[in-house]
Symmetry: D2
Subunit: 266 residues, 4 copies
């Protein structure tokens, strides 16, 4: 029997696959806090052959995203339990063969299809609870997207709060920050069945195949990170806040390419 389905479970029809084939489409609101930590703490998260980025190597972005997403069929949009999800993720930069990449080192989402897309894209996704203030059409219970607009965001996992941020917008900005501005360099790993090393490991790059964005707003940011026995986010200590950002975006993602299949010999 020939199986169908982009990912598991594969069946004769492919209907059950946890995720459909790319391209995948996203509309979302991004709330970002950029800060500097000890570059040595970033280096700890860069397996060879990745190295620290040459400039501002301790820069970190903690990004909350409130997403609606779908496949080419757009059918998920009419059953939005299958299209909406929230996430928070931590991005650093690194250098590979002379090129600077962004790299997601931690990420939490709240849906299984998002976990599976992360498996494919090399985002190391766990489940978490993420909340970020939404700009709404009316200000009765919402901030403005503009000078003075104040946005909060929180991240929890395992019934522990891991991070909370408050961003106060000040002015329009040329950029939405610089840490998450490169193609991503991610590892994809599959541990071996016998427990000795990996059966498969690969360094890949990927980025948006299409991207649109509204005006970016920048401002002040306050960020607090909390300890957890199963997380190391707080190890990326906040030494200096660079800034906070808010931006609304539309994204298409349609695959990436393998940079290296890694040696999995033990």
């Amino acid at each position: 029997m020939q199986m169908q389905g982009f990912f598991f479970p594969r069946t004769a029809t492919g209907q059950s696959s946890l995720i459909p084939s790319p391209p995948w489409f996203y509309s979302g609101d991004l709330l970002t806090v950029e800060y500097r930590t000890d570059p040595a703490r970033v280096a700890e998260l860069l397996p060879a052959p990745l190295e620290l980025a040459p400039e501002d190597p301790g820069a970190v972005a903690l990004i909350w995203a409130d997403w609606q997403s779908c496949s080419s069929s757009r059918e998920e949009l009419l059953d939005p339990v299958r299209s909406q999800y929230k996430e928070a993720f931590v991005v650093v930069r690194c250098s590979y063969q002379g090129t600077t990449y962004s790299r997601c080192v931690y990420i939490w989402v709240d849906k299984d299809f998002a976990i599976a897309r992360g498996m494919h894209q090399g985002y190391p996704k766990k489940l978490g609870q993420m909340w970020q203030t939404r700009p709404m059409a009316f200000p009765h219970a919402a901030p403005v997207i503009g000078a003075g607009g104040v946005f909060g965001a929180t991240l929890a996992a395992g019934d522990r709060r891991l991070a909370e941020a408050v961003v106060t917008l000040r002015e329009e900005s040329e950029t939405n920050g610089f840490v998450n501005a490169h193609k991503m360099a991610h590892h994809r790993v599959y541990p071996a069945m016998d427990g000795n090393g990996d059966a498969f490991a690969e360094l890949i790059e990927s980025g948006a195949s299409a991207f649109a964005a509204g005006p970016a707003w920048s401002g002040d940011a306050d960020l607090r990170l909390f300890e957890s026995p199963t997380e190391e986010l707080a190890r990326l200590e906040v030494h200096e806040v660079i800034g906070g950002y808010f931006r609304q975006v539309g994204v298409e993602w349609n695959g990436g390419r393998s940079l290296e299949v890694l040696n999995t010999d033990e």
Copy 2:
């Protein structure tokens, strides 16, 4: 000791109260399907002294709402787990002493503070899972608020899907429907500790103390209701769809008034 707190648990400071004192503020997106059912099914949900509305007595509105809300302090907006919630609710109309009221007969929400506000306001809230398509800033994975925009919505409780709707917007509309357009007439009940009838029962009216709204859009709607052993929503059978609506609103709610304290003698 003098206890503080609008609702339970009451303490010396009032800090623990599940909900703060009104006024309460809301910014939200409403997706509405109006339809006609057998007026006898509406009448079943109207305790005396309420009666069927004189005109179009079988009209029903099933409304999904995606809310951000806060108290006067607005502090909940920076800890949005405390301000965002989703709901779906069923509204009919009724007549009391010659006046037509709206009345929420079923409602599901996904936060405890929303349940407590409903206890106060006479909304018979249960927990459920509600999803409605969101208009986003970019169309990559979102409909437009405008002609041709298609919005889906689903409601589940107890791990069963109870309702699903698809609304296709066609044109701007004078109204967002007519069923939920009156003040609400609700019962507030508190069963007696000995199990014999109610210790307290009251008929109240309430409505928004301030209201703002963007343009309403109307269009076609498809609505399906499903059976559940613990729900009677499907008993309000869809005989004729009146229309679908989408509107963004801002609301302030600041109390209501007692119409009658009801006799609780058994």
Copy 3:
């Protein structure tokens, strides 16, 4: 139309009521930590005419419970999303007209039917996430109910951890603690629609109408309480741990009685 249903929403059949009429039945595992706090902190939670208990007035019990529950029909047992829930609750003692009562001052549950039962019984329930180690049939991933068995428990609400405990069983015990050993004296309150005080307030007593229990085990306990902007649990500081307990129980609850309807004049 005569409405049916123990609690809201009331309908012609009563089928939709969030909770059925008592009696209610429970089978559960209780993990308890008893400790002493400053009696003044307990007194803060006792509205007149309640007073501190005459002996050991600063004693507190923090109890986790892993419940399966049902009505007389037992139908919920076959659709266990409707019968299983977890809770954590804080009990102190108080004195009313010379009698010592237990009193639940804070409680978190994870189902709506449990919230509604709490409304009726005067338990000030919020939603939370509770976890407690389970004794399982095999020890591969479980403690024994016996000397050396170690049980953990955690409580979170609003994406913040509020409490965590570890109990190490040492020996069989005559009791499962003494703080939660009396009838409960609870307030039931319903704020007035106009926001001025309560429309209804009552002091009630209730307790189990039937009760069975296995052997109680006692032992050492470690308890940590954490701050939250919406909770005051941590204000009941742990001055001295009295002990930890584990016990399996069966309970029937079938109403209580009003001690006083309280004056709600402002």
Copy 4:
């Protein structure tokens, strides 16, 4: 930098890994319904080189499991949000090189660590909501594990109920069924970054490295499967119920072995 961690995210310490290294330990309650479907529907789920089992090829087991689990450190048992989870899974049998294997074709769990363990073991896990009646210490709200004990179970995903079962125990049984009684033959797949086929695919076998079980009870079973646009469980139609089973188990799992690395050329 040398990265540590059995699975992602990998860090210098390994502390963040979503799952620790095997062995993994489990204590659980299993509720099983075995039935026969059209063998052609089973064949649809068996990619080459797997074939239908030679005897009773249409046999299916739908199993609910209520688990507590941990690593060798057993630390998860004291923070039980990290150790307890529920699952429902569908097992068929197949033949590979003359040997009969069990094979999990669909599975739903409710924790992220369980998804990650499934990725490793070749279980095609999605998130779902699973509930099964628990045997408790007291019968006030629980069935007995014995003749006449009635257990219910439900499965939902995407806010839709997918399956519900009722099992009435009749007698002790030699076995807990026969469908899930072999080593598992599972595929592990990793789609290629460019979207063309798989970067890695492997057929593996694994089973418990240690196993203990209490008495198995068998009885009558009723099973209903429901349609969903994202699931094909209902395609495994119930032609004939074989029986229902309840058993409590303890399990250790400590890896498996690769049967074949599969050709991933397109």
